[in-house]
């Protein structure tokens, strides 16, 4: 498919489209810098090159190579959050989770490493530092941002108190801090209240840090301050896994309300607690750009979308995918974002070709490591019923095992390719 020349495709295109393309002229495709007018070819702009956005950009091109796709992503690499907890345990290098965007470029996606500054749905354009970018359809995969001001002292300390909840430099720094922690040190991890990115993620992280400390610093302790009343996901499986880790102290319903990095102390409603290494995962909401564009609901946190097209209920022509969405019975996971990216791409391609969007249900396969060699999983299957996503079944692995861990590795080999390959 990628060997097709543009000329071949023009030949293969329907007459109406050919006319439109001829009218725009090929020269119009050459530059997208700062322009405000469409070129004649249809253009889909994708904001965010994570699990949802990178997938969406690729699948629009796979669906209809006559559509120009521009992906806006400031980072030069896609770094996978799934498996990043293995970096904290010293079992993986962050480089093994990092991928460039050349795979998308080979599929004809124009990847621009710059930030989208604002969405203007009324004029169908995105504002950049260099000007405006017009779109026919917009797919936004903004991920999450943090509600810093919900923890006293955190806004001033946001660069030094680590979340490591977006894989990258903070992951590497947190791993370094854990490795250089005193032998009898206290590692505190705070779990934010739901909803947040990756429901089992904090508990996988607790498991892997506990595994590392048990092996390397047996006198050290993992103290979990969970804002929620219980382990949020895979509850019984994590409880079982933690029997191997007496170094974990788990406190439910212990929301962190303040942090003092100078004193190395956090405060809950009940206690002041000293730490040697802190991993404070702040409360979350959708990425800033969709909050600014008022695509979020009354809670100012998440975006309600169509279950069939992922179009925002507040802005026709703007699809929102991934962790930023709400209202579907799905977790905020990488696999779900990957599903949503594909389905939004299919919808955008269909609608740009004056066809109805087909009914396609997402899926969720979610592995969590609990030691250096064992993992657990949860799987959710869905269908579409009366225009809504409905869960068919959720199933957990019966126990942790190396076989599940092998399939977790297999899942990454497949899905990373699906996202950026």
């Amino acid at each position: 498919m990628r060997k097709l020349t543009r000329r071949t495709f023009l030949g293969a295109s329907g007459a109406g489209v050919v006319g439109a393309v001829m009218g725009g002229g090929l020269a119009g495709c050459a530059s997208t810098m700062g322009e405000t007018q469409p070129t004649g070819r249809r253009r889909v702009v994708v904001i965010g090159g994570g699990w949802g956005g990178a997938t969406a950009a690729k699948y629009v091109r796979m669906g209809d190579p006559r559509i120009d796709v521009v992906l806006l992503e400031p980072n030069r690499q896609f770094i996978s959050c799934p498996f990043s907890n293995l970096v904290l345990a010293g079992l993986r290098d962050v480089g093994s989770l990092s991928f460039g965007y050349d795979g998308l470029r080979r599929r004809g996606v124009t990847v621009r490493h710059e930030a989208a500054l604002a969405i203007e749905p009324d004029t169908k354009r995105v504002r950049l530092a260099s000007g405006y970018l017009a779109y026919d359809r917009l797919i936004v995969s903004p991920g999450v941002d943090f509600l810093w001001d919900q923890v006293e002292g955190l806004p001033a300390a946001r660069d030094t108190v680590l979340h490591a909840w977006k894989a990258g430099p903070q992951t590497v720094e947190l791993a370094r801090q854990i490795q250089s922690m005193p032998d009898n040190g206290v590692f505190i991890l705070t779990v934010p209240p739901v909803a947040y990115r990756c429901p089992p993620g904090p508990y996988e992280r607790i498991s892997m840090v506990a595994w590392y400390l048990k092996a390397n610093k047996p006198r050290a302790k993992v103290l979990v301050l969970d804002a929620n009343p219980n382990i949020v996901s895979k509850t019984a499986l994590f409880r079982e896994a933690w029997k191997a880790y007496p170094n974990i102290e788990y406190r439910a319903t212990n929301r962190v309300i303040a942090v003092d990095p100078g004193a190395k102390e956090v405060r809950t409603e009940f206690d002041r607690i000293k730490y040697d290494v802190l991993n404070l995962i702040p409360p979350q909401r959708a990425g800033q750009i969709v909050v600014d564009a008022n695509l979020v609901g009354a809670d100012k946190r998440w975006c309600e979308v169509s279950h069939l097209t992922y179009e925002s209920v507040k802005a026709p022509g703007v699809h929102v995918v991934g962790d930023a969405t709400t209202g579907l019975p799905v977790p905020k996971s990488g696999n779900v974002a990957n599903s949503m990216g594909k389905i939004a791409a299919i919808a955008a391609v269909s609608l740009l070709n004056d066809k109805p969007a087909p009914s396609v249900a997402p899926g969720n396969t979610c592995y969590s490591w609990v030691s250096d060699r064992e993992a657990i999983a949860v799987v959710n299957a869905y269908k579409i019923e009366n225009g809504k996503v409905v869960q068919i079944e959720q199933r957990l692995t019966p126990a942790q095992s190396p076989a599940v861990a092998a399939r977790a590795v297999g899942w990454t080999q497949s899905i990373w390719q699906d996202v950026v390959g």
Binding site: G11, K342, V379, A381, K383
Partner: protein
């Protein structure tokens, strides 16, 4: 999808040869997302584009015999072939339409695993495969009429895992139709599993 595109390109070239511009209005638009392709698009997360898994653990389902595919999905959905992953997804396939999905993947061109097996392991596996040939054939392609699947070109990790599941009676537990292969697996030394997997993954 590649076939569809070859057809499109072919039509385009014909159109270009016989009638200059504008191109034939009848030429189909290059749309990937006809209905079934769209509905099974989530499968690619594990099984790869068009069912051609590139991973070690997930099987390639592109080109899989439709009858075998359907039997396995039904077994997964009924939990006769227990799988935390495929149990739920089998029910999703039944909701989409089993015939449609089986036909879709059967029509895809199978691309063997890109994982290269160690030549010595392949040679040992070839020697060890004598008891397997009776059913799976000298070429490892099985016999769809008898419900015996092709093993050729599947990822080695997946094949190794299936040997283990048969040996432990964890694949379709208690299924009398599979009693013979399970009995056979119990006679094969575990140390040979990787060699057998390497050999069958190397077949084309």
């Amino acid at each position: 999808m590649p076939r569809a595109h070859i057809a499109v390109v072919g039509a385009a070239l014909l159109a270009a040869a016989s009638a200059p511009a504008p191109a034939s209005a009848q030429a189909p638009a290059p749309m990937l997302y006809e209905t079934t392709t769209a509905r099974v698009v989530t499968c690619a997360a594990c099984h790869g584009v068009n069912g051609n898994s590139r991973s070690d653990a997930m099987p390639i389902i592109a080109g899989m015999d439709a009858g075998y595919f359907k039997k396995q999905v039904q077994a997964y959905a009924a939990n006769a072939r227990p799988s935390p992953e495929m149990g739920p997804y089998a029910k999703q396939i039944l909701d989409i339409g089993l015939d449609e999905v089986a036909g879709h993947f059967a029509a895809q061109r199978m691309e063997p695993t890109p994982l290269k097996a160690d030549a010595a392991a392949v040679a040992r596996g070839r020697t060890a495969s004598a008891p397997c040939v009776v059913c799976h054939g000298a070429d490892g392609k099985g016999d769809p009429a008898r419900g015996i699947p092709s093993l050729a070109g599947q990822p080695p990790g997946f094949l190794r895992d299936q040997i283990r599941l048969f040996r432990q009676d964890a694949r379709n537990p208690g299924d009398t139709a599979l009693a013979a292969i399970k009995a056979l697996m119990k006679t094969l030394p575990e140390a040979q599993d990787a060699d057998l997997a390497a050999y069958y993954s190397s077949l084309r």
